[in-house]
């Protein structure tokens, strides 16, 4: 009986949280047009979430591409078609790994930074002070960070994929001896515009989800050290699950 009650309580809590998240996201969207009128604030946030994540994104992209090059080469050798390595690496990165891995890294680096920053602002009364100055913190603090994340994610995914393709080329062509001309020409022939569009749509959707979750968790964090820590953890967990679920749904729709 207590198990049933616990499950019911958990379900109710989940429904309440989902409701709060939906309302908060609607509020974010409502103030977005006004936030767009302050490009300087947006640029700051694109820099904070995007440019500050560049090193980790490029490094990860390089190694993911190198692994793809190794695995792809080994697999394709069994079928005697190593010249297709370029298209395998590019399609894997553009359609799937680029957007997904970038989003997971974004949740871990920029998402946690957003949550802890907003949570600490709340814990130190900075958000209350803004409200007392008749400034809506959702418009002034949350919306620019949300929009900055949405803009930064597709750019980061594109950089990830580009670095990954370079990593694949490094392993496939330089180390394994695949012909460079075949590597690039096969890639050019195989990759279509819709493959790139799929990657852009996915990374845009992941950007929306990860940024909204990060600012929501920060804004609703319990204003204590423990509360901010827990909110930061929830950002990573929720964003990662949301990215993987969304990825399946989008892949099913876009295929």
């Amino acid at each position: 009986m207590s198990l049933v009650a616990e499950l019911a309580g958990g379900g109710r809590e989940l429904a309440q949280k989902w409701g709060r998240f939906t309302l908060f996201t609607a509020r974010l969207c409502a103030v977005t047009p006004r936030a767009l009128l302050r490009p300087r604030l947006l640029l700051e946030q694109v820099y904070n979430t995007g440019a500050q994540s560049l090193v980790i994104i490029m490094l990860s992209g390089l190694f993911v591409g190198m692994v793809l090059g190794l695995q792809g080469f080994d697999l394709l050798r069994r079928f005697g078609s190593t010249e297709s390595l370029g298209s395998a690496v590019a399609l894997g990165l553009l359609r799937e790994l680029g957007p997904v891995v970038t989003a997971l890294l974004f949740a871990g680096r920029a998402g946690t930074a957003l949550t802890s920053e907003i949570g600490l602002m709340s814990a130190t009364d900075q958000l209350s002070a803004m409200e007392m100055m008749a400034v809506d913190p959702v418009r002034r603090v949350c919306a620019p960070r949300f929009i900055g994340g949405v803009i930064a994610m597709p750019l980061l995914a594109a950089i990830f994929s580009a670095t990954g393709i370079f990593g694949g080329q490094l392993v496939g062509v330089t180390l394994m001896g695949v012909d460079a001309g075949q590597f690039w020409s096969q890639m050019r022939g195989a990759v279509e515009l819709r493959d790139i569009t799929e990657g852009i749509i996915k990374s845009g959707a992941f950007g929306l989800a990860c940024s909204a979750i990060a600012v929501f968790e920060g804004y609703h964090a319990v204003p204590t050290a423990d509360g901010v820590g827990r909110a930061t953890t929830r950002t990573v967990v929720t964003s990662s699950v949301a990215v993987l679920v969304l990825d399946y749904m989008l892949t099913a729709v876009l295929l």
Binding site: M121, T124, D125, Q126, S128, A129, M132, M133, A134, D136
Partner: protein, 280 residues
């Protein structure tokens, strides 16, 4: 509890804020029950009381950050219960609030913190913003600290910057939450003088929440002492000091035990020790 001293209520024109029969409960606890407070225009009014009596909650009610569960709150002619978010924000542009820790925006320097309300609410040219900010910083003695970051300020300096920010929009009502907490005697004296001089020079009304009896005695024109969710006493600091009501006496002379007990409610001491019960 009947108020020991009945405040002489200022008339409508002389009153900037009025709380009538206000009740507020949170988490099943009744913080206020039938609270009546009137804030006289142009004066420094102190809200005092033991810790946990809801002094900060009262400020949050006056500023519309929380809504009362009963009663009516009027601030500068506006009934807070009838205001929507936009109306509340318009009213707050006529208020300034100084938080206990200053609540400065940590990613902006001192100058930008003070300029923040001007940039958000006005389209003034940069040269005018700079002049206004420098004048306000000069008034609190920190013009030279304009380019310091909040992390480089002492507690007293942070509160002075917060005061400059609170007055930058020339508000009618200025609210201070525990302005003396954690300050050394020099910083405390500076803040005390600034509150008084700001109030008189700018023709403001000030509400100061504090439990520093001595400082309030020097600063306030009128004081309310809260206890058990109601006004236990009201009047000038001198009148409160002369009040014979036990709760007022205990607070004003800092006695450890009395109507506000030293011990938090607990089971019988002897029974608990002998039974070796672990508190649940």
């Amino acid at each position: 509890m009947t108020p020991a001293i009945q405040p002489a209520a200022p008339d409508e024109a002389g009153c900037i804020a009025r709380l009538s029969g206000v009740g507020y409960a949170i988490g099943g606890r009744q913080v206020f029950d039938g609270l009546d407070v009137t804030i006289a225009r142009g004066k420094v009014t102190a809200i005092m009381g033991p810790s946990g009596t809801g002094k900060t909650t009262l400020l949050r009610l006056i500023t519309g950050q929380i809504r009362p569960t009963a009663g009516r709150i009027e601030v500068d002619g506006e009934d807070l219960g009838r205001l929507d978010t936009d109306g509340l924000y318009r009213l707050r542009q006529r208020m300034g609030m100084l938080f206990q820790n200053g609540a400065l925006l940590t990613d902006l320097d001192v100058f930008e913190n003070v300029a923040f309300p001007l940039r958000e609410h006005t389209d003034l040219p940069e040269s005018l913003v700079a002049r206004i900010v420098l004048m306000k910083l000069h008034a609190v003695g920190l013009r030279g600290a304009a380019r310091l970051m909040p992390s480089e300020l002492s507690g007293g300096m942070a509160r002075r910057v917060a005061l400059a920010r609170a007055i930058v929009m020339d508000p009618k009502l200025l609210i201070y939450d525990e302005p003396f907490a954690g300050l050394d005697p020099i910083a405390m004296g500076v803040v005390l003088r600034l509150i008084r001089s700001t109030n008189d020079a700018l023709g403001l009304t000030s509400i100061v929440v504090s439990h520093d009896v001595q400082e309030i005695g020097l600063l306030a024109d009128r004081a309310y002492l809260l206890a058990a969710g109601r006004v236990a006493a009201a009047g000038s600091p001198a009148e409160l000091a002369a009040d014979a009501a036990p709760v007022v006496r205990q607070f004003m002379s800092g006695e450890a035990d009395g109507p506000v007990p030293f011990h938090y409610p607990a089971p019988d001491y002897e029974a608990q020790l002998l039974g070796a019960e672990v508190p649940e």
